[in-house]
Symmetry: C2
Subunit: 189 residues, 2 copies
DNA sequence: CATACAAACTAACAATTGTTAGTTAAAATG
DNA sequence: CATTTTAACTAACAATTGTTAGTTTGTATG
């Protein structure tokens, strides 16, 4: 039975290095050194550097797609759907902050899977925008430019991978609540 | 008189490529090809690849520092200071979307200037946080976690470089107003 | 104990990297 | 017109890159 743990360990360590320096700046020798082995030994577990990147990014992108699918079909108000999106991002990001860095910053270095990734992202943003537009029509959400609303919320959620590691005194649920408060209700008194 | 234009052109083209692929993935040959010359010819105008990155990032970081300094000393309410910060980001980003990508994504590849950059950023964030805390104390801003408020606003402003190029039908002033509306007053009706 | 296999190793490769040296042609300067 | 400067070029370098081939070592399995 092949030890799948070692592969996972390699991918996790790679994600950590990718977060610090970006995919292109991390060499297979960097990665091997971090793991205490030689570069050639990595190839007993992974098939290429590109294969590592693909494993990191695609699984995360699919998790977001699945999450959005659940939210879409969840007979909730638009505002509650937005709150669920916040929870989704906090949850996935808290689970894998390193990988989220690659998802955000290294997706353009995907080769074979680039089109697939872009398709997932496009579809996610389309669903997100649809929720906001529905909320505006139903008078739940203030009459504003829906793209700016999505841009604003999504930018914050996509940056979570940078902030969550610094603030682990805050638990996930609490963070989701405070974030929803600020993003949805604003800060003006 | 040395032609300073050519240097500017090289730096601008480099910023454009850095935005697409990141600093590490762009080679001097890529850059030269984009300009229609050979890699070695670049060195008549710049002293190193690192020199290009430094020129892009440091000037932008100093522009933000200057802007924040003006806002700090501008006897305005906290909310109005925040609105001025939005305008500052929209203005600088609209002027140089390519460079802002490097500021956001490639700062860690600075070598000699890394400490200086980090110092500027830290100081900027300290001032930003201070404005929010003052606003909370003076009852202008809702009683919330000031770090989350800053994180949320700053994440959105830092992502502007991705969105502004897609939306140039929106003029800067209009964008600043709508963004302030969403970020400060929220979206809940 | 014999065998199979997982996971490390050494050595090497071809390609690519940033950069330097030296040269050339055209344009600016006196 | 003579000279200097600018900005391109060719050729080459030493280092680093991802990856492959072949080998060794320890650990389970039968």
């Amino acid at each position: 039975m092949k030890q799948e743990n070692r592969r996972e360990e390699i991918i996790l360590t790679a994600a950590k290095l990718f977060k610090e320096k970006g995919y292109s700046a991390v060499t297979m020798r960097d990665l091997a050194t971090e793991l205490g082995i030689k570069a050639a030994s990595l190839y007993n577990h992974i098939s290429s550097k590109q294969d590592i990147l693909k494993s990191i990014i695609i699984s995360l992108a699919e998790a977001f797609t699945q999450g959005m699918s659940d939210i879409k079909s969840s007979n909730e108000s638009a505002i509650n759907k937005l709150k669920k999106i916040v929870v989704l991002h906090v949850q996935i990001t808290a689970q894998n902050t390193y990988g989220m860095a690659s998802l955000n910053n290294d997706w353009m270095h995907l080769e074979n899977q680039l089109d697939y990734y872009l398709q997932l992202r496009k579809s996610y943003e389309r669903d997100f925008l649809e929720i906001i537009k529905t909320g505006i029509k139903s008078n739940e959400i203030i009459d504003s430019n829906p793209e700016i609303v999505m841009f604003s919320i999504l930018s914050t959620l996509r940056s979570l991978y940078l902030w969550i590691p610094k603030k682990d005194e805050l638990n996930r649920e609490q963070l989701s609540i405070e974030l929803s408060e600020v993003l949805i209700n604003g800060i003006n008194k």
